[in-house]
Subunit: 761 residues, 2 copies
């Protein structure tokens, strides 16, 4: 264990000390220590004081401070100091299963030591993955990204991000490696659970909300937590494999993949961006000057710091083999536009730049890169904020308010895919329930959650939640299905935090794992078959970041729910839904394929990709047989315990006026809750121009809103879309068509759930 | 029926007449009727004499002269004449199931009528698909394209193409819609059987041979048959669907898809090219000026005529919706670079250009387009050749020499994928054989063959061939497997020429059909299971243009043969192989996937697409689980009844000398037939630079040769590759790396079948 001679308290004093005492240099010029001048000015001033070696050390950092052995946190001082000598720009907390009470004292000492021992007092900035919680045990554990996007509830998501932000701040994390705006277009990709879904507009809305909320400024004008939008740019790698190559041309990239970046960069200004691991058109993003400079900096106007993905610079020479040495890889990456290296262990490749002090272009690029990092540090107050105390952290983490927000989003994250009337259960009619399937006992939080699924102290599995609700004696195991007279089967796939020591041997989902088969892993289908064959009424519950084939073999289930990746209240929320205490309101953000080879299956394919069109194709059309492109479990779909009816839709275009400075399209309808109980509905607006200059998808989401209505309540719905938003990029130029447009409004992307209105603009 | 007042004989005289009498115009200037001046000069002269309307009619033609009803040819004069008025550039024969004896007299009359009735005596040029035979019944029917490429025997393939050429010439077909150089990269694509396989080098070799042979010049200097290289540019459409969109950037297109074009354009000069139906990067090829002009004309230097694919210009407004009207679509296509329209029925869209006589740019583009077509007509002697006679046609078609070539290529087109020792059968040990499975009785020639699979007069199904060989009484049906003590199960998929009247309802492969499941269609797997469960020794024979999953469920078969798409002697060749009269020598030209969602699976993936690499991956690597990218049934693999051994390989680079005007790499080894019987082996050379500027595949085929050796015979093998061939395109510029290269030599692309040699250049 690392022991630091200085206590946190002493360091805290010293940290505050220098911000107060050192506003000016001796000659009276501006000083980087002066918080009253701009972050840019401070960064520039500091840069000018730094030696070449000091600059190069800022280009990397330490990703994993505290590891874990035999269930206990371990800090290796020797290896830490070895890395720190050449890479000290940032600090990562280490393995996420360590508890805040163990980690914070160690990390605080490390932070203080760095300020104290560095010539110019330059602190680390603490950086962490932050997907469904803080990157350390002890915080509020939300459900996974795909779960939260299934809520389609942006105001609620904003509350979630505010919680994660406050919990990050409470442990001194000033920079997160989120949001991930990759599109879940290929059901084989093991990382789909980390994504907001298949639709670029929806992803852009969630990501922009994430960045705006995370980067909110505090009373000092400091950004609370900097964000990293990623991975520029990724849609589907070859074979659905995460790091594999893509073929994309500029129209594909700008129209299919870039919209979340366009929106986030314009409206939320993420302070950093991570380049993807993939090659696009055979050029790895880490050396893809065209996509980093011409497109990202030029066309999209990104101004923040560009960092590498983990090990990406090394992979240039070890995997894609586009550089013949480590130093060659570093030079190519720097010259292409990478400014900071994420390198989880050992020596990063940017440390090789130390030997380039006499290369003018490299010196200039290193200056730019260091400046970008220093500006984030100053912008987030990393030079100025006191170190967090454990006491304050424990007051903030898992507060009642935080847990309430978590319960709320969890309730809306579960999607009801099928219900033949079996749900909700009437408590009076349900005696015992047989709970069957491995995922009833697994806390399936995903790979980027600070949670060990086998730790019973944390979160509730579905079985535990149900036992709490109806009593242990009424929850039966598999053999008792017939006897219980009622079964819940919970199947899925997961990142095997089930057994952290050997997690790479057991997992069936998550980063690095692609699904060549979309059936249930292992013997789960046989288990389901056995239960369904008993004829006992059965509810199928899915748990995973992925979609599964839900065909003939699952059809006899009376109801199907997808709970995606669990938060700590997913078990409870499932029980609430089973018994009707919560009315499900989640909607699919990824389309469920109908056959193993039927992908891409996302709803927004190009018209020439499926000439059969909406459900009218025959075998002689140019497509997959049996209409498999048109999935009934389609983007935007999800059932409720109540019913909703739309009024007649209307669309008109409004010319620019004094109050509207642009031509817009206004689509209106009304929504009525025609069922017997309160519920929430997601109203969705899709469109396409009738004719376009280059191919345009058969339809694209352009607006959505989630509305709560009591039984028999009604409300007007009105969407306004500026004409300028209806365009698309043609070879890098934004183009908006004049003429006819089709708009569809309804509660899913399925034709049968939509009303078509046409308008000429 | 159409009745023409003129007889073929009279027309023949008149056709010859004008070539002799009209060499000069009255003022003595050059005349298009003069065969002694160049085709270009003749075309230019003729163009200058043509009216606007005459020009526009040359931009299209009639695709389907003679149709078929109730098993009889039908000619509809009214509809023919309606189309002919506005489109008379070319003539197609019609439905391929009609017999030459019925079709040739009708078509000859039509050809004569056109010359006779047109003001300037401009003939049609007769055009036809020509994949595994002429586009009419009565010719020699070869196996499908994927079958013939599986021979890896270029000299033999040259003989095949010469046969098809002579048979085309004998019926007056001067222009074929082949070769297809699309790459069979996605096992879901229903057109893979029409392709030469997954590897761009192999495809380029076959396509270049096809074009060189087909376009051979006759004694008059006329090209015998013009070719159409197609479809520029196609690899894998979204979802494996044939006409669907692609995302490709320029490096993907030039390095992965274009190599067959590069080679064919440089070495064989195809007179025409067909643009693909697909959108690339959202821009349909029919209006993709960048790919048609900048890349195809500019970078690749293509000089021939560019034609549309069938209906492609219409689809611009009806499907991809990038043009709002038929005339708009025509203008966009013409302006992008299309010069001729393929429009199977009714009015083509280029007929709309008749209204553009006053648009200077359109007039110039139409002139260029007409000139391109006229030049093909003059180059191929279409103005000068006499009409073919039925007598001559019948002497040429299906001559003994032609049938012998067919038997030879068919024997080498079948790939032995597995053999546990059951093959070859010893006649003395085989009593009866149970022949089981639908494809034992189907003549599965593919969609572009002039063959009706239900017509017993044509070609032999496997069952018929076997009955001929061992006697009807020894060939048993399914129920008798146990009794026979030996079974051959023949499974597959096909284009349902099985029932031509309703072929679109029964087919399971072919154009327009994509496979979301790579298992056997229908109940075939259950049939195989039933036979294998009897424990009777079983040989599995596959028949289809596609690959199937060959996993656990097919493993109990003692041997597996893939016969691909049948030619008329496929049944016979299978029987020869079963009894060891022919030693199998075919090799896979497409890799067989190991799981339903495991694609792309082609051997030449990029290094970053499967970081696990050659067989060393674990579950934590970035790939599909269970090493499914590395298929044991891999490109280049195929078994023999004998065994071959390679000597030690050597590689060295030779500097440019007087006899070598370029630096080359020379790889040598020896090959010995170490088994007990004569056989043929395909020696394959693969390579990659150790480091490259942009990503380069893990290996690429660069040379191959097929060698026949008697038992115990040995031979030296030597490949020489100029350094200039080892490069690749970087953003349109050819680049060759200096430094280290890896070469692999062996008899498949599987690591275990290859020897690595390294060389520095």
């Amino acid at each position: 264990m690392f022991r630091c001679a200085l206590t946190s308290l002493a360091l805290l004093g010293s940290a505050i000390g220098f911000t107060v005492d050192s506003r000016r240099t001796s000659n009276g010029s501006l000083s980087y220590k002066d918080p009253s001048i701009t972050p840019k000015e401070r960064a520039q001033d500091l840069l000018e004081r730094m030696t070449w070696a000091e600059k190069v050390t800022q280009l990397g950092g330490i990703r994993r401070a505290v590891s874990r052995t035999n269930g206990k946190p371990v800090f290796n001082e020797t290896s830490f100091n070895a890395i720190r000598k050449t890479q000290n720009g940032k600090l990562g907390l280490g393995l996420q299963f360590n508890h805040v009470n163990d980690v914070l004292p160690i990390v605080n000492d490390l932070r203080a030591q760095q300020v104290d021992e560095s010539r110019l007092g330059i602190p680390y900035i603490t950086i962490a993955d932050s997907v469904n919680d803080i990157w350390i045990s002890g915080g509020t554990l939300f459900p996974g990204t795909v779960s939260m996007s299934s809520s389609w509830n942006l105001p609620l998501f904003e509350q979630v991000v505010a919680v994660i932000r406050e919990e990050n701040l409470a442990i001194g994390v000033q920079w997160v490696l989120s949001p991930e705006v990759d599109l879940a277009k290929d059901p084989r990709n093991g990382r789909n659970g980390e994504m907001y879904g298949e639709d670029a507009y929806l992803v852009g809305e969630f990501a922009t909300k994430y960045i705006q909320t995370m980067q909110e400024k505090d009373e000092n004008g400091w950004v609370k937590v900097a964000t990293t939008i990623k991975h520029w740019v990724y849609g589907t790698g070859s074979g659905g494999v995460n790091r594999a190559s893509m073929q994309g041309g500029i129209n594909h990239i700008l129209n299919d993949l870039a919209p979340p970046y366009v929106k986030a960069i314009r409206e939320a200004k993420p302070l950093a961006l991570m380049a993807s691991h993939s090659s696009v058109d055979r050029i790895p993003l880490s050396i893809n000057k065209y996509l980093l400079q011409t497109v990202l900096r030029g066309i999209l106007g990104f101004k923040g710091l560009i960092m590498s993905d983990a090990n990406a610079i090394e992979y240039l020479t070890t995997e894609s083999k586009v550089a013949s040495s480590r130093s060659g890889a570093a030079l190519k990456a720097l010259r292409a536009g990478l400014e900071h290296e994420l390198h989880p262990g050992g020596n990063g490749l940017f440390t090789e730049l130390i030997y380039q002090a006499n290369e003018t272009d490299i010196v200039a690029l290193v200056d730019t890169s260091v400046l970008a990092l220093l500006e984030i540090k100053f912008t987030t107050g990393s030079f100025d904020r006191p170190l967090p105390t454990l006491e304050q952290a424990n007051r903030t983490l898992r507060s009642k308010e935080h847990l309430d927000v978590n319960r709320n989003i969890t309730r809306e994250s579960i999607v009801l895919l099928k219900n033949d009337g079996i749900l909700p259960l009437r408590r009076s009619e349900v005696g015992s329930i047989a709970v069957i399937g491995p995922y009833a006992d697994i806390f399936n939080a995903g790979m980027y959650a600070a949670c060990n699924a086998t730790d019973p102290a944390y979160g509730a599995s579905f079985r535990r939640s149900l036992e709490r609700e109806i009593g242990t004696e009424k929850v039966h195991a598999a053999a008792a299905a017939q006897e219980a007279g009622f079964a819940v089967v919970m199947l899925g796939s997961g990142f095997g935090t089930f057994n952290p020591a050997t997690f790479n041997n057991e997992r069936t989902d998550g980063e690095g794992y692609a699904h060549v088969d979309l059936g249930f892993p292992g013997q789960q289908q046989q288990l389901l078959d056995a239960v369904l064959n008993t004829g006992v009424p059965t509810i199928l519950v899915l748990s995973s970041g992925q979609t599964f084939l839900l065909g003939k073999s699952t059809q006899p289930s009376g109801a199907i729910l997808h709970s995606w990746l669990s938060g700590e209240f997913t078990g409870d929320a499932l029980v609430e839904i089973l018994f009707g205490e919560t009315n499900p309101s989640g909607k699919l953000t990824v389309t469920v394929p109908q056959a193993n080879g039927a992908f891409p299956v996302a709803y927004d394919y190009l018209p020439s990709d499926d000439v059969g069109g909406f459900g009218s194709a025959t075998l002689y059309d140019w497509h997959w047989p049996q209409l498999t492109r048109y999935s009934p479990l389609r983007f935007g779909f999800g059932l409720s315990y109540t019913t909703f009816a739309f009024g007649e839709a209307e669309a008109h275009s409004s010319a620019a006026t004094k109050s509207h400075n642009a031509t817009s399209v206004i689509v209106t309808t009304s929504l009525t809750n025609t069922g017997g109980r309160a519920g929430k509905e997601v109203v969705q607006l899709y469109y396409r121009p009738k004719f376009s200059v280059i191919e345009f998808p058969v339809m694209k989401l352009i607006r959505f809103t989630k509305i709560e209505l009591g039984a028999c309540e009604s409300t007007d719905v009105r969407f306004e879309v500026p004409k300028s938003e209806l365009g698309y990029f043609v070879n890098g130029e934004w183009h908006v068509d004049d003429g006819g447009y089709s708009f569809w409004i309804g509660n899913s992307s399925r034709k049968e759930d939509l009303e078509l209105v046409e308008v000429t603009i």
